[in-house]
Amino acid sequence: MATVQTALPPARAGGPLETRARRRSRRAKITAAVFALPALVLLGALVGYPIVYSVIRSLFDAKGDHFVGLDNYRTLFSDHATLIALRNTMVWVLVVPALLTGIGLLLAVLTDRVRWKTAFKLVIFMPMAVSFLAAGITFRLVYDQDPDRGVLNAVAVSVHDAFHDSASYPGARARQGAGAALEGDGHGGYTTSAAASPGSTVSLGMVGILPAKLPKDSVQAAPAAARPGSVTGTVFLDFRPGGGGRPGQVDSGERGLPSVHVQLQKDGHTVAKATSGPDGTFRFAKVPDGSYKVILPKSNFATAYSGISWLGPGLVTPAIMAAYLWVWTGFALVLIGAGLAALPREVLEAARMDGATEWQTFRRITVPLLAPVLSVVFVTLVINVMKVFDLVYIIAPGPVQQNANVLALQMWLVSFGGGNNQGLGSAIGVVLLLLVVPAMVLNIRRFRRSGS
């Protein structure tokens, strides 16, 4: 043991000079080893052993009893879910670190000369103090589909409704089956199935509206009176509260639908327009003889705009990335800001004296001088992005989890989250390790260079 050796008799005095020097250097080496030993043991137990064991475990099957060679790796690269995870991780690595470093640089340069930059940096940095879990839960709410809960959709819906008139009867539809007078017109509206001619009258029964949501001026529906030379009709809610109405006919207790836009069409061309009254009746007067169709255009019934499906299969990964940006921008900003503060002012001033524009100073002086800091930030983010797990796990709802999957999450899902295949999980872990290694090597090289 090393410890025993150091306790050996001290070097004999009066030996040749070389031997003493050699002996001293050997003793220094031994001392170094003794001091390094606890750290090495710890590293070995906590880092070395798990890596080696993961590699070994990845060569065995789910239960760990049978050696399967590279089968797990083969499964990994042929399994659809894992491939999606791999692809998403790649997208993350390509997009997020670059974007974050860029935003960090931009904010750092912009705030550099602002008086309140410390306060500003503090605010941007604050999300770093929030755990990913809490950030994930918050963002899941932010992205909620229901405009009453998700703030983003609340904004989207308000903006949309400000520019588009909302329909008077969203979601209402024509009575189908027995008593149906209307059929779809192919554009989301309705048209009468039978032809109408002057002197005839139509009953247009609609369903799917809560009586409580009818306009206040709506009253008991009235069957329209037939008039010579006019097409008349009633648009009404063909449903009596408590049930019991006759489908397609105006019954007592069934209310008219006021303010419905009605069109009269002949051969596909609109020839007249009308609006229904409080009892649902409408009238097209002075209609020449012929065969017509009565149309209820889609604009009456268009379902309310429900906002953007942020957590749908298409947008879920960008949405999670945005949450990640929110958390990590502070990190990039503070590091790059510190680098910026340490830049030699005289160089920048010299450039300005020489007549360089702000953009030129930024491009040619600031960025190259900041390059070491930028690359540290970038590489650190690459490593961090590769192991992103919690945000994806929390924000992505069950049905789209696979669309948002990343390797770290897939590794957990496969090993513990139901898959119970720790062989395959270890294989994913090893692949993840291999992907991180280049970034690690880069970082270590840089540390070394800056150390020497």
Binding site: L133, D238, F239, G242, L311, I394, P399, G418
Partner: protein
């Protein structure tokens, strides 16, 4: 599955935190009362582990107190949190095994038994079970011909919850057949309210929908075979059940928010959409635990929220998909004899009566008089479970390997979510289910 109630990640993690604290704080109920019954087990202490917390734990402790009164043995309840099998596994490995564990899933009973952790139940308990329980409950407690588990608490997952106001407005009454339910659904939807709220964002309500339809349409025999994967998911009965389910899913008008809305609705929200302050639907299907969600919306079960049994599909028997918490005795426990005595006590109608009076409990024990249930809603569920007798079947997805039947984002949950998104091809969905099942059952 118990874990299911806490699916949103937030709650899941909060649950973990609670587990951590709950594990530390086992409380001991000392047998203070004087001998009403015998004191045969005086000086013994039985350690009981279970998933229960809060009110359920308090009620179960009353039952344990009853045992103490009857025998003189002290009891000590330890809460395991949601993940029973991990906690118990750790405790056994650490030499600190409880005597009795209340296991919430049939799959876990089998896992414990095949790990060799369980003590076969004594012949006295066996006799009680044979006498007072429908054989199906004994079967679910039996592994390889040996009775290991006593089902103490049952749950009913064949309840369709509805808002009486919505039904009154639409002029419909609780249906007795599936076809009638779908007709009523159309009427409700005509009245301006979507008929059903479906919690499609969590996959498990969809599996429960399927299981009820399948159990009623294909019968218990096929149900058992499918649960064991003895018939394939491509079997015509499965395709037929999926077609039935798909015919419902296809009608966007019947579902709150349409199919897309359903996929963005988690279970608690699906209950809120029916019983919340601005209702969007008239009914929601899920198990008896919906009552808990109803109460948390400050609505009253029985007046604001009622249920009817899931109706019979295509002339079959009405399905009763159930579940339950089973008591098992660990063979590494310190006081197995006293543990066995506790299980025997739990098999008695007296033990069940204590919790039935406290509420929030139904017993599969036939000998428990229905008058013991103070809550009329629970009395109905208890009646339907006991009346169903041998027709009760456990949740199929709970019996399947977790990778297939119990994991968000994969297996049956995910495939049925895809089916909800696009219900046009039941045969293809069956095919996908089969290939996922084949992989999971083999692993």
């Amino acid at each position: 599955m118990r874990v299911r109630h806490t699916l949103p990640a937030a709650v899941a993690v909060a649950g973990l935190a609670m587990t951590a604290t709950a594990c530390g704080g086992g409380s001991s109920d000392s047998g203070s009362s004087a001998a009403k019954g015998g004191q045969s087990l005086k000086g013994h202490t039985v350690t009981v582990a279970g998933v229960w917390t809060g009110e359920e734990q308090a009620s179960f402790k009353k039952v344990l107190q009853g045992f103490t009164d009857a025998t003189g043995a002290k009891t000590d309840f330890v809460s395991t949190g949601d993940n029973v099998s991990t906690v118990i596994g750790t405790k056994i490995a650490g030499g600190d095994a409880p005597d009795v564990v209340m296991v919430p899933q049939v799959g876990v009973v089998q896992q414990f038994a095949s790990s060799g952790w369980l003590q076969p139940l004594s012949s006295a308990v066996d006799a009680e079970v044979t006498q007072n329980y429908a054989p199906v409950w004994k079967n679910y407690g039996t592994v390889k011909g040996q009775l290991y588990a006593l089902y103490f608490k049952a749950s009913d997952k064949s309840t369709v919850w509805y808002s009486p106001t919505a039904f009154a407005n639409a002029g419909v009454t609780p249906p007795t057949t599936y076809a009638q339910m779908m007709t009523d659904a159309k009427t409700i939807s005509d009245s301006g309210l979507a008929a059903f709220s479906v919690g499609g964002q969590d996959g498990w309500p969809l599996t429960d929908w399927f299981e009820n339809i399948y159990l009623s349409q294909a019968g218990p025999g096929n149900y058992d075979k499918l649960a064991q994967h003895q018939i394939k998911w491509t079997d015509p009965t499965v395709v037929k059940a999926l077609t039935t389910l798909g015919d419902f899913f296809k009608q966007d008008d019947l579902i709150a928010g349409g199919r897309k809305g359903a996929l963005a609705t988690d279970f608690p929200t699906s209950v809120e959409q029916v019983f919340g302050d601005s209702p969007k639907a008239g009914m929601t299907y899920e198990g008896d635990f919906v009552s808990g969600n109803v109460q948390s919306l400050h609505k009253k079960v029985g007046t604001d929220a009622k249920f009817f049994p899931f109706p019979a599909v295509d002339g079959g028997q009405p399905p009763v998909v159930g579940g339950g918490d089973a008591a098992v005795v660990l063979n590494k426990g310190k006081d197995k004899a006293a543990g066995m005595a506790l299980v025997k006590y739990l098999a008695s109608p007296q033990a069940a009566a204590i919790w039935a009076k406290a509420g929030g409990f139904i017993s599969p024990n036939k000998a428990v008089p229905l008058t013991d249930y103070t809550d009329p809603t629970l009395r109905e569920t208890a009646k339907s479970i006991v009346d169903a007798g041998n027709g009760v079947r456990f949740d199929m997805s709970d019996q399947a390997p977790a990778a297939f039947g119990g994991t968000a984002g994969t297996g049956e949950w995910k495939i049925l979510q895809d089916f909800l998104r696009d219900p046009s091809n039941p045969a293809k969905t069956a095919q996908t289910l089969e290939s996922a099942a084949a992989k999971a059952y083999q692993g």
